[in-house]
């Protein structure tokens, strides 16, 4: 066995690349220097060039992956902390999140199937608007390909965070709460990071969008896919 395929070596490489890109991102403030995206690309390049298979990498990756589900459970804490705010304007928030969640699932699935995507791809696209660990969990629950979903979620997040505020500006959406809420709904964690950069209050609303859309998408994706006759 080659040294590089030892779990601790691969773990060190993964953590190291992530830390380095995160450090560089903080220094340069560039949206394109996305730590997740860069780390995935660099790790894949290393694996491809050294001929290590994904299943070998998974032997070390599973130690990091273990934390995925607990971290989704931990989202219950900000949700609890924001319950007061949500209660005060529960109708506008909940209804707009319902609309966003259903539009996200239906439009993604329909556009993909109109353009002739295969069934696996269509199913994997359905949860693309929500935060990655959640989207992957939903994807595997409905029989999609979690890794493919993860790739789409990252692309959605980068696109949403870079263009989100500009698109809403273009369509004359003025209310700052509506805008920041939608950044979380459409652009999950990356959209929230962008809103958080404007102000903490924007960030709080955005994370509410992230959590609620995640919850609704988890509940509605299987139902909508069944109605559309996909699963």
């Amino acid at each position: 066995m080659k040294l590089i395929s030892e779990p601790y070596v691969l773990l060190t490489i993964t953590v190291g690349i992530y830390w380095l890109t995160k450090y560089l991102q903080n220094k340069t403030n560039s949206v394109f220097l996305n730590p997740i995206l860069i780390t995935i690309i660099v790790v894949i390049l290393i694996l491809e060039s050294t001929g290590i298979s994904y299943s070998t990498y998974h032997e070390s990756g599973k130690y990091i992956e273990f934390f995925l589900k607990p971290s989704i459970v931990a989202l219950g804490v900000p949700l609890y902390l924001q319950l007061g705010k949500i209660k005060k304007q529960v109708i506008p928030i909940v209804i707009s999140q319902l609309v966003g969640s259903i539009v996200g699932i239906v439009s993604g699935v329909l556009i993909a199937s109109w353009l002739g995507a295969s069934k696996d791809v269509i199913i994997s696209i359905a949860p693309k608007s929500v935060t990655t660990p959640l989207a992957m969990d939903i994807s595997s629950t409905i029989g999609g390909i979690p890794a493919l979903t993860a790739a789409m979620v990252v692309i959605v997040g980068i696109f949403g965070s870079v263009t989100g505020f500009k698109i809403m500006q273009l369509f004359k959406i003025k209310n700052p709460i509506s805008k920041s809420l939608s950044m979380g709904t459409a652009g999950h964690g990356l959209g929230t990071a962008e809103a958080m950069a404007v102000s903490q209050r924007f960030g709080a609303y955005s994370s509410m969008g992230l959590i609620l859309n995640g919850l609704f998408t988890a509940i509605f994706t299987p139902i909508i896919l069944k109605i559309l006759g996909i699963i």
Partner: protein, 121 residues
């Protein structure tokens, strides 16, 4: 720290148990999240019991998905074969989500505020 871990894990384990017995198609992690929120709200769980571990988990959430993300390497062919449907679907849908959510929220807020000010009159 062990108690913190225990609280998170028990929420997750209860979520798994509910999924196992009901066959419900919701991720166990989401059920765990709702159980945690409920527990905090009902004061069964104290915030200080889980503050450290939840900060750690939330701050590093994106990092945890790197290994499953690397699994993309097994699907590179599929992605390049269907690049146009994939990109059109996810980018088009993202724009629709942004606009439908913000538009709905803005209108509902306006209605709510109008009601409030007409009540005052």
């Amino acid at each position: 720290m062990i108690r913190q871990l225990f609280v998170i894990l028990i929420c997750l384990a209860l979520g798994e148990t509910i999924v196992y017995f009901t066959g419900i198609k919701i991720p166990s992690s989401i059920i765990g999240m709702l159980l945690l929120t409920t527990g905090l709200q009902l004061k069964i769980i104290k915030l200080k019991w889980i503050k450290n571990i939840s900060d750690f988990l939330l701050d590093n959430m994106v990092f945890f998905f790197i290994p499953p993300g690397v699994a993309i390497m097994c699907y590179l062919d599929l992605i390049s074969e269907e690049l146009i449907p994939i990109l059109s679907a996810i980018l088009g849908s993202t724009i629709l989500v942004l606009l439908s959510t913000s538009f709905t929220h803005q209108i509902l807020r306006k209605i709510k505020f109008k009601k409030r000010s007409s009540n005052k009159k």
